[in-house]
């Protein structure tokens, strides 16, 4: 574990932060631009994973395990979120026979 954290610290923290910003931005842009609900859920997962990476990096640099514990909880919650999301998606597919969110405009002003 000691060697591991030394090895991880070989890469400067800035690089982790930059990578996470890029991953997070890809996720947000995906949510905004893609029309397929499954891909939107994937993009949200990407956002959460960038957060996980950031937490782990900070955790190593602080030599404090809290961040890594946090990551486990985020993974669990993300799985639960996707389970409910996919269940609703199946229901939507049955009702309107599509997973394209452009069709979800019945409720508009």
């Amino acid at each position: 574990m000691k060697d591991m954290s030394v090895a991880l610290k070989f890469i400067p923290l800035d690089h982790y932060v930059l990578l996470c910003i890029i991953l997070f931005s890809i996720g947000v842009l995906g949510v905004l631009y893609r029309r397929n609900t499954i891909i939107i859920i994937m993009c949200i997962e990407l956002m959460l994973n960038s957060v996980n990476l950031l937490l782990t990096a900070f955790s190593v640099y602080h030599s404090d395990p809290t961040g890594q514990i946090f990551v486990f909880f985020i993974m669990v919650v993300a799985a639960a979120e996707v389970a409910v999301g996919l269940a609703i998606l199946v229901m939507m597919k049955r009702n309107i026979d599509s997973v394209d969110i452009n069709l979800l405009s019945r409720l508009k002003w």
């Binding site: 949200i44 957060v51 409910v84 609703i88 969110i101």
Partner: protein, 474 residues
Amino acid sequence: MRLEDFLLMRHELLLTLIAIIILIAEIFTDDFKKQGIRPLSIILMAIVTIVGFLPAPTGTLFGGMYQATDMRLMMKNILNIGALIVFIQSASWLKSDDNQNKVSEFFLLLISTLIGMNFMISSGDFLMFYLGLELATIPIAALAAYDRYSNKSSEAGIKLILISALSSGILLYGISMIYGTVGSVYFDKVSVAYGATPLQIMSFIFFFTGMAFKISIVPFHLWTADVYEGAPVNVTSYLSVVSKGAAVFIFSIMLVTVFQNIAAMWKDVMWITAAITMTLGNLFAMRQNNLKRFLAFSSISQAGFIMLGIIGGSELGMAAVVYYILVYIFSNLGAFGVIAAISNASGGKENMSDYDGLYKTNPALSLTLTLALFSLAGIPPVAGFFGKFFLFTAVAEKGYWWLLTIAVLNTIISLYYYLLPVKAMFINKAETSIAYFKSDGWTKVGLIICVAGMVIVGFASVIFEYIRTLSFGL
């Protein structure tokens, strides 16, 4: 940790106990006896609500992760009251043919969201806060999609789950940066070490955005009306009152305690968003015809008013926020209760034009709706007036005169559209208004509680004074 320390968590433990009892009842009842679960859940919830008011010790648990102060217990009690009223109001709706075989699911999901909210309000660190928040939002999406064969309901469900997942992603990004800059996720450590370095300001912006989605503050409010319209009426009422109330409570606690070092900065942000939220919510509410959408936009503008108390930031401001949520629970649930009763009795009539001439056919329901709308607008005899008055006092005390002017102007605008349904019911003539119908006992009880709450909370100044004495130690 001693055994009696668990007494601090009594709200959460009791709610978990109810959830387990309902689960067992669900397993051991036949399909044609499922209706018995409705009175069972309501009675259990009533017991929990009453037990919550009994005096109990305060303190912290799990090394500061869980905090039970008098104020937080009061907030939980207020949410319990709201949930109890929603339970009572939904009883007649759950009796209909479509919902007969999924009664216990409704109560189970609702109780699990309530457990999540209670944990969220009691949280002392970001991990507990995040877990509570997710427990409070994920089951709500399943509830919004409760009508399995309705297109609108599935649309509301998918919109709610996508938006809540996106907003928690943004929120978590903020939390991770807070952790990165401070090196701890405990509120008391963060509040000391939090400064105004660029990364910390950015983390606050992400955090604020994530919470703004949950409370539906204006730039992030677009999901609200769609979800509120698509979801079943009783779920909408829960979403607009209890859910929003819990998010407001924890948001105000965190702004005042965790982010106290940058108070000058978040007050500016809140100033602008509160002004925009009130104004846009009102302007959009004016042009709505569907009453659920109408109340959705009204709840957006109410969120703007609630933010006034947070901006005040004083002990009076906090008390005003909590008091206003209490009033708001009674008034909004009163309005939603009438809409739900009419929608159930008339086969889904929810438009304002359907309410023409309602006073002639159903005078009691129209009077209740009128009283609730008056309370939301803040017209003197009912509690809404006092709630708004305290919020305005909290802002005026700190000298935010321009914000106060905008708020008062918005109250005047809101009077116009809150009176539109009243005009439809009392003045408009209609050839075929909704026929007279007799509501069942549960609906009546729910509405009577709401009306009594609106009147009593307004006149009994003891309640506000009591909340105010609590608000010293958040």
